[in-house]
Amino acid sequence: MANTCLHCQSPIPPTQTKFCCNGCAAAYSLIHNMGLSSYYTHRTLSEKETPLIPEEYHLTGIDQYITTNEKDISTLHLMVSGLHCAACVWLIETVLNKQNGITHARMNMTTRRLTISWNATQTTAQKLIEPIFKLGYRLLPYDPTLLNDQTHQEEKRLLIALAIAGFAAANVMLLSVGLWAGGKSLPTSTLSLLQYFSALIVLPATIWAGRPFFISAITALKYKRLNMDVPISLAVIITLALSLYDMVTATGETYFESTAMLLFFLLIGRYLDMRVRNKAQHAAEQLASLQAKVATRIQADGSFAIVPLNQLNVGDVLFIAKGESIPADGRITQGTTVLDSSILTGESLPQTAQVGSTIYAGCLNLENPIHIEVTHIGDNTNLAQITKLVEQATSTKNTYTILADKVAQLYAPIVHILALATFLLWWLYLSASFHTAVLYATSVLIITCPCALALAVPAVQVVVVSRLLRLGILIKSGSALERLKETTAFVFDKTGTLTTGKFTIISGGTPQQRKLAAQLAKHSQHPLAQAVAKLYPDTKPLEKVTEITGQGLTAIIDGKTIKLGNASFCEAPQKPTLKNGETDIWLKVGDDTPILFTCADTLRPDAEKLIHQLKQQNYPVYLLSGDTEQTVQYIANKVNISEYYATRTPQQKYDFLKKLEQNGHRILMCGDGINDAPSLACAHISLTLSSSSQIAQTQADIILQQEHLLDILIALNLAQKAHKTAYINIALSFAYNAITIPLAMAGFITPLWAAVFMSLSSLTVTLNALRLSRI
């Protein structure tokens, strides 16, 4: 790694010796001067994540985010991007803590959020965070109260309810052992004492931990519907009331432990369910938050400021560095560059853009820093038009009823009818006492209570979703698993999905010529040049290379002019006959005849295998792309997809999916670009790769983090297994009910035994679900 920058490890231009730029040199010396060089030994860099190259930035408008208390201690919350490992967390915290006036600096590695507090009389926020900018991290202030932490809060509330119910259940069970073991032989005073203590624990616990069920039941009743929370609430309230009555009048047994256990088991199911939904969602949000939602605005005085996207105005002039994506629609006012718009349109070849060119948000700036003037913001941007289409797609999509809800909708009325029948039968027909009749009816309610049912599906989903997460497959919702299993047809995008969206050289040149070309190509970010450079990744770049935007690269060696670029730049005799999907790049040494290299967008290594296996399983496969006919045809032939469609706009893609759906297909859409977002939103299930655009990641149900296309098959396979296991679980819990309901109706089962059976069935389905984590 001799040729890489000491700080960021990107290649060093020939004019420098140790660093790629002044920013990195400054960051390196800053780290060294503070005695923190161990950062470089501790950090772990993956290929994809290079540390951000530091540039001169300052934040504007942070004052509104600063809160100062009466002791002059100010606090600021910041989101950090550019973080790649724990060493960064340590570096940021240590650098901050070494400064005067700082009282607290803590970085949350999971959420990538930084909180700093300082003494407002001694220092300012600007002074404190300046070194962090110099290190190459980007900071964006946020208001913690505005952040959408609702799901997080909900999860916490549920966990507290679970803790309380668990505490109550455990303690009451201990007391109950005394009651059961002693039975009638205990003196009445001891019996009452144990009962009163049980009531003391269970009553407040029920009121607190039962709230989620009560609220849901009341809401359902308001809309004149029945859900499973209605019988649950009824069972809890009736057992509690009956036990309280028996306790006060000292007339019989109490069933406090049944109430507590019931709540505890149900809450476990509910918590697991919530974890499935939130866990993957969090991970997905984190991915999205890594992509900066900020722009660099050039202020009136010529300085740079980082501003959030929603604060941009028409007419603002933005600075767009090399490698940055365009934050807003606009027109170039300074500079000439090459733009990669593959993520926006699906076109694989980049386009040259100069002063006056219109450019769209989402394109990638490949070659030179440019200045753009914002021409559209908000609803008028190209991106917003696509977003509108996405919203339309989402709103017309049929709401999916998950398996557990389907079962519950059928099940709830049956439970009520059975309980009522038991009560009436015993009270009126068999002339039992009112008390006994209520007791038997309650047993039926508890027995039929869907603890196992509530656990059956979420337990399976938790196991499968966490297993997939470990494999790098993010499932954003539990229902996505069920929908994945129902897929009947696959639709793929081309650029960036089946292909890597990057070019490789497929023919041309002797090894010597290739090496020379690679040495030259190292100086450019253009996808074709990168393809040439990849031929000899370790070779030393040439010195004194000039890049002519949109044309090529040139250098002089031993008095000979060497050129690498397009046909006209290298004075190629005539346009060669190229196969579909191929592009030409030329090398010209001195006055020799130019040498042709052909390159093509590379297929992902496992694309062919994936399509082959899908076809073996008799799934219809389609290819939809925004790229040209020839390129799409080339790729389609390579992976053997007979039904392909080229030059599709986002609207056409969306319409195509709608048509397929009307023909009775359940579609899995796999795409990565902004142009795929509407189709991703309307597909039955959608899938994207972690390199895809942010909007595609928001819309997709599944994100493949490893970018292995074969992961689709793994996910599909596990989804099918999960479905089977969920059905077995539901069958198991029904089997328990089928045996115990008649017994309960006949009055053989007291609420105590009902609770025991309930626990047993819950345990069975949980264990059955856990099998899936091993297969």
């Binding site: 005695g35 161990s38 724990a86 060493a87 590695m109 966990l159 507290i160 803790a163 201990l174």
Partner: protein, 48 residues
Amino acid sequence: MNALIYLIPIALLLGFTGLIAFIWALKNGQFDDLDGAAHRILFDDEND
């Protein structure tokens, strides 16, 4: 059996303390950053 009158409350109180501690930890954000703490211990506070 009279011992129960104070033994049960003592047992409950102990359990209750644990419950309160858990709720406090949860609300205080002790479980918010489960990755950071694991790594943080690997770094020395002072440079050497």
